[in-house]
């Protein structure tokens, strides 16, 4: 299953295509699905990021080592 970052990259790529006057606009349905997929994983990515932050619960234990 693609990650939040991969969905973000897809949206950024579609944006580049929209703004590129040499290329036709992407299909609306493709843009819709990419944005929907990105936001379906937004909260998941943020929770993972928060969980990855180390929390020092016992400062003394660090100095005892």
């Amino acid at each position: 299953m693609p990650s939040y970052e991969e969905h973000m990259q897809k949206v950024i790529d579609l944006r580049a295509q929209v703004l590129d006057t040499e290329r036709p606009d992407p299909e609306p349905a493709e843009v819709y699905e990419a944005v929907q997929a990105l936001h379906a994983t937004r909260g998941v990515a943020a929770k993972k990021k928060a969980a990855a932050v180390p929390v020092i619960t016992d400062l003394k234990a660090l100095f005892d080592k």
Partner: protein, 312 residues
């Protein structure tokens, strides 16, 4: 930089509230038309969001009921609107372009048009009453041209609300809750819109529905406020508007020095007034360049979707 001292031909709610907050801010922003750096992230976000909603509604109420198609078109329109003003779509982590696109989808997931109880009315040509501007003459007279000054704004939608006429206005916000809902009770923008609607062919208009989507770091939220304006509210607002205009015109006739700075809450509200660094100098005119440039505030441009920070 040459500063042109001229009174605006049109006044909108943003200008009136700028005057109300600080006369110097009105002078710098709406008489000298100075703006600092890039456009406000909040305004760019709001403009792209408004464009997306407009396109989705026009597509759907114009007969395109393919959800992926009309929402995809809405996102493409929002991308184009955003790019006109800011290059970097990810400059702000929360108010980013991807979140703007997500907020458009969220709005129509929350209030799906297929069974929305708020539906647009029809113009004479049969098109839905979505996104149109107004510019209505008021009693104040322009000091140079002697033409009536115009009161301007932009409606998001005129709608049928349980058999009555209502206007719908879309907002984005960083926070929604009771204070957001109740905060519209006396809001001059809404009262001005109801007045303008009554002058524009909807004499029975009394109701405004404000739909807000909040943009949070990991999610979106929503709230809705239903507002009513009586004849008294409108008459009072009209008198206040003219009282404010009277003050603006008197100050204008005396010259720039008559626009006194607030030196108070307006200087620090919403992250700080952009003109604070000028007010802090003895000869502020010499400090305009290179940080400020000349622009003309267009009250009819799409920028109506605002949150509390946009009132800068």
């Amino acid at each position: 930089m040459d500063l042109t001292y001229d009174f605006p031909k049109a006044i909108d709610n943003t200008m009136r509230t700028a005057w109300d907050a600080c006369q110097r801010k009105f002078l710098l922003g709406h008489i000298y038309n100075l703006r600092k750096g890039e456009p406000s992230m909040h305004l760019v976000f709001g403009g792209a969001y408004a464009k997306g909603l407009e396109v989705a509604r026009k597509e759907f109420y114009g007969g395109n009921t393919d959800k992926a198609n009309y929402l995809g078109k809405a996102c493409i329109a929002a991308i184009k609107e955003w790019d006109l003003q800011l290059d970097d779509p990810l400059l702000d982590e929360t108010k980013s372009l991807p979140n703007c696109l997500g907020a458009i989808l969220y709005c129509f997931e929350t209030w799906p048009m297929v069974d929305d109880w708020l539906t647009p009315l029809k113009n004479a040509d049969g098109s839905p009453t979505i996104e149109f501007t107004f510019a209505l003459p008021i009693s104040a007279i322009h000091p140079k041209s002697s033409d009536p000054i115009l009161y301007t704004g932009r409606f998001d939608m005129f709608a049928d609300f349980q058999g009555a006429q209502a206007l719908e206005d879309d907002k984005t916000a960083s926070q929604l809750g009771n204070s957001w809902v109740n905060g519209w009770d006396l809001d001059s923008q809404i009262t001005g819109y109801v007045w303008a609607g009554q002058q524009s062919g909807y004499p029975n208009l009394k109701t405004a529905i404000i739909r807000g989507v909040s943009i949070l770091k990991t999610s979106f939220g929503h709230a809705q406020a239903i507002q009513y304006r009586t004849k008294w509210h409108i008459s009072n607002w009209y008198n206040v508007l003219h009282s404010n205009l009277d003050g603006m015109l008197k100050a204008f006739s005396k010259g720039p020095e008559a626009f006194t700075p607030s030196y108070g809450q307006a200087c620090k509200a919403y992250g700080g007034c952009p003109y604070r660094e000028l007010c802090d100098k003895e000869n502020w005119e010499k400090w305009i360049e290179p940080n400020f440039h000349h622009y003309v505030w267009d009250p009819l441009a799409i920028s109506g979707v605002k949150d509390e920070q946009d009132k800068n």
